[in-house]
């Protein structure tokens, strides 16, 4: 991985010096823009101060002593890192961002957040373990993507908030005002040309600066440890930790695709067509962002940066020790019910019994889980229709509502199963390994 700590420190110091200088330049450009174009001298002064602070940090880094996080803080973060803290933490963070969106979409607030995130990353990079994960050629693009995703989410949210404000004043959305046609030539073609050149330059720099993430020659008897899917499938790989392969690898991904395809047929809200809005489509917005940001993106981040050897969860500043021991004794629901609850062995067909008898015994063994699943998928939709989703049911009709509620329940099945695994060490609700059927 790395040479000696001194070598690592020298290498990372040079990198961080350039990094902080880049941040300083970024802020100085903003300060100049505020002062020259917007005539906001007070704000410009603040960012000039930030620029000077960053230049000071950069000089310290270039001098060989980049500031880092204190050891106790890193240890605390490592100790706190776990699936429960991670999932609850990301959920809380997204909820805060959503509820305080009116505050966070202000450009200056967002810019401060970006600066804080970048500086925090720079401080963390001083830690060797963190740096080795973040600067891995496989992971660099994912770091970039995280920031890119943050930017686009901010952009969309800020426009939605603006449109919602306009709607409150009875004005049409911003997109309706600016619907003048743009010429393909020269406007669009020039934009595309500039994008092409910029992207090509970026790819050339990337290709020169980063090593190709090659691994050892493939072998059918040796799996790399940890063995990670391509970054865009890490959410699926995380799902596979909690579900049987046919469930997490076939059924749930198909449901994601078909569910997305079904959205136009399920959606009955005519508003928000062609412009950004949150207030007018709160339910759709929340469900989609939950599915995308919470169930897909955070799982990709978890899989990329927090999953180490043997697929254990490691803290961001923790050494990836392949011999880390985590006590995980997972138990099926049938064992919970029969062995722990009733204090007897699992029901088992007498040896030599026929197929029918055997199936009956299996059904008895997995009875609690089967009943639970049937209750979840058959009893919950009518319950939802009569209580929480009463208005939806009236508007959507039986078939559309059933479709939506079942897709919703399948989506909720993943976090539920994760929570059960983390809290109760529950492996499978229905476990029929004899016929490769587990849920």
């Amino acid at each position: 991985m790395h040479g000696s700590p001194e070598e690592f420190r020298a290498g990372i110091s040079g990198f961080l010096g350039g990094y902080y200088l880049f941040l300083a330049a970024m802020n100085s450009v903003l300060a100049f823009h505020l002062w020259h174009n917007k005539h906001k001298v007070a704000q410009a002064c603040v960012w000039v101060v930030v620029t000077f602070v960053l230049v000071a940090i950069a000089s310290a880094a270039m001098g060989g002593s980049p500031p880092g996080l204190p050891a106790w803080l890193r240890d605390d973060v490592n100790a706190a890192t776990g699936p429960v803290v991670y999932s609850v933490g990301t959920t809380a963070l997204l909820a805060v961002l959503y509820l305080g969106r009116r505050f966070f979409v202000r450009p200056m607030v967002a810019w401060s957040g970006l600066n804080l995130a970048l500086v925090a990353m720079g401080f963390s990079m001083v830690d060797e373990n963190f740096a080795s994960i973040v600067t891995k050629p496989d992971n660099v693009p994912i770091v970039g993507l995280v920031f890119l995703l943050g930017f686009f989410t901010w952009l969309a949210t800020s426009q939605a908030v603006e449109n919602d404000d306009r709607a409150k004043q009875g004005l049409p959305p911003k997109e309706k005002l600016d619907n003048e046609k743009v010429l393909v030539w020269p406007d669009l073609v020039y934009t595309e040309l500039i994008c092409m050149i910029a992207l090509t330059a970026f790819l050339i720099v990337w290709g020169i600066a980063l090593q190709a993430p090659l691994e050892a020659p493939a072998s059918s008897v040796k799996t790399p440890n940890p063995s990670k899917a391509p970054w865009y499938f890490l959410g699926l790989q995380e799902m596979l930790v909690y579900y049987d392969p046919w469930m997490a690898g076939v059924v749930l991904p198909s449901l994601i695709i078909f569910g997305l395809m079904a959205i136009p047929f399920i959606d009955f809200n005519k508003k928000g067509n062609g412009y950004f809005t949150i207030e007018q489509r709160k339910f759709s917005y929340l469900i989609f962002q939950f599915g995308f940001l919470e169930m897909w993106v955070t799982l990709i981040i978890l899989g990329t940066f927090f999953r180490g050897p043997n697929w254990n969860i490691f803290g961001p500043f923790e050494y990836w020790d392949p011999h880390k021991v985590l006590a995980l004794n997972n138990v099926d629901l049938s064992q919970y019910f029969w062995v722990k609850g009733m204090g007897r062995g699992l029901p088992k067909a007498p040896p030599g019994s026929g197929l029918g008898t055997e199936l009956l015994w299996i059904a008895l063994r997995e009875g609690p889980g089967i009943l639970l699943l049937l209750g979840y998928f058959l009893a919950l939709p009518p319950l939802m229709a009569t209580t929480v989703f009463r208005k939806f049911f009236v508007k959507m009709g039986f078939i559309r509502f059933m479709l939506m509620s079942n897709l919703l329940l399948f989506m909720a099945a993943l976090p539920l199963k994760m929570a059960l695994r983390w809290t109760l060490n529950l492996k499978y609700i229905v476990s029929i390994p004899e016929y490769f059927l587990n849920f």
């Binding site: 008897v221 040796k222 063995s227 930790v241 499978y428 587990n438």
Partner: protein, 356 residues
């Protein structure tokens, strides 16, 4: 048109309509021709109204004498079907007089037009044949009166077949040129095929293309069955049982054979068994962790005890065992072609372990 200007679509349509209107009122004529004899020769009142609609309808619907539409054709054909059905029923009911009445007729009717008889014989038909039948009587474009009169019997098969007796003179024998020609000789067919395949440069090109692709496909198929398999043999010897100390997990056969040889206990019995190093979750190869005394999969974190039983992570069932037995020379021999799964009770099979 006199001027050079192109006609617009509307003008073309108008012209076509005019032409249709000017055409002789054929359906009217046909209706009359069919109906009048029916009324005269067949006094049965029940049949007559049934036979009427097909004749009357086109006349009423198209006073201008335009071509009947598809819907009209179908309606007419269906009404005919109904008429023929009632007629058939009447005949079956037994009116001997009528039967006698009808008996001599088929010869004449068939001679006049073979179609109606066929129509009566084959009961209800599908839409396609009804349409085809109706169309066969309607030539697109204008029609002379004589043509219309000739066509009329064909259009009214049901009414004709039973009830009408048109005084039609017997058809003269077909002249030589009108007789159906014999099917072209087979040899000509073959030449036709050849000329399609090889007659032009395009044909030659496509033929060669097809041949090359066919050969490629065959070659690809052959590629799937190589002459040599470089897989290690499925049966191999791993040494004497005394080489495996109790509690030991031997990992040295992993690189070549993908198998752990373990001397450990299962169900209270000490035995040597061969575990297949493939995770039962998604097929990665777990690692044996000596310090933790467990097999651990790097892909999704499944863990297995030393006896191969799954206890953590998503793996739904224990690792699988290969067949193992003592060979004649006293060495342990593993057979990878046979697998034993714990969850269906195969580990109690004596072929899955060697007791020590």
């Amino acid at each position: 048109m006199a001027d050079k200007k192109k006609m617009s679509v509307a003008e073309i349509l108008a012209a076509a309509r005019k032409a249709d209107a000017a055409a002789p009122a054929k359906p009217v004529a046909s209706g009359e021709a069919a109906e009048a004899p029916a009324g005269e020769t067949a006094p049965a009142p029940a049949v007559k109204p049934a036979a009427k609609p097909p004749a009357a309808k086109p006349a009423a619907a198209k006073p201008g004498g335009a071509r009947p539409s598809v819907a009209e054709m179908m309606a007419a054909a269906r009404a005919e079907m109904a008429a023929s059905a009632t007629v058939a029923a009447k005949m079956a009911d037994g009116a001997p007089a009528k039967k006698n009445d009808a008996a001599p007729k088929p010869s004449a009717a068939v001679k006049a037009s073979p179609k109606p008889a066929a129509a009566v014989a084959s009961g209800p038909k599908d839409t396609g044949s009804i349409l085809a039948e109706a169309r066969s009587g309607v030539k697109p474009g204008p029609m002379s009166k004589a043509e219309a009169a000739l066509k009329a019997p064909a259009a009214k098969p049901a009414a004709k077949s039973e009830k009408t007796r048109i005084p039609v003179p017997p058809m003269p024998p077909k002249p030589e040129y009108a007789k159906p020609k014999p099917a072209p000789a087979v040899t000509e067919d073959r030449r036709g095929f050849l000329s399609v395949m090889m007659g032009s440069f395009l044909g030659i090109g496509f033929t060669c293309n097809a041949i090359v692709y066919g050969l490629w496909t065959l070659g690809t198929a052959r590629f799937m069955f190589p002459n040599i398999l470089t897989e290690p043999p499925s049966k191999f010897k791993v040494g004497f049982p005394s080489n495996f100390a109790p509690g030991q997990v031997e990992t040295k056969f992993i690189p070549q054979y993908g198998v752990w040889v373990v001397n450990w206990e299962y169900n209270g019995q000490n035995e040597i068994y061969a575990l297949r190093s493939v995770c039962t979750h998604l097929g990665c190869t777990p690692n044996w962790l000596e310090g933790e005394q467990k097999f651990k999969c790097p892909c999704h974190g499944s863990g297995f005890y030393k006896d191969g039983i799954n206890f953590e992570g998503p793996a739904p069932r224990p690792l699988e065992r290969y067949a193992i037995h003592l060979a004649d020379d006293g060495q342990l021999e593993i057979d990878k072609s046979k697998l034993f799964q714990e969850e269906i009770g195969q580990w109690s099979d004596p072929a899955s372990f060697v007791a020590v």
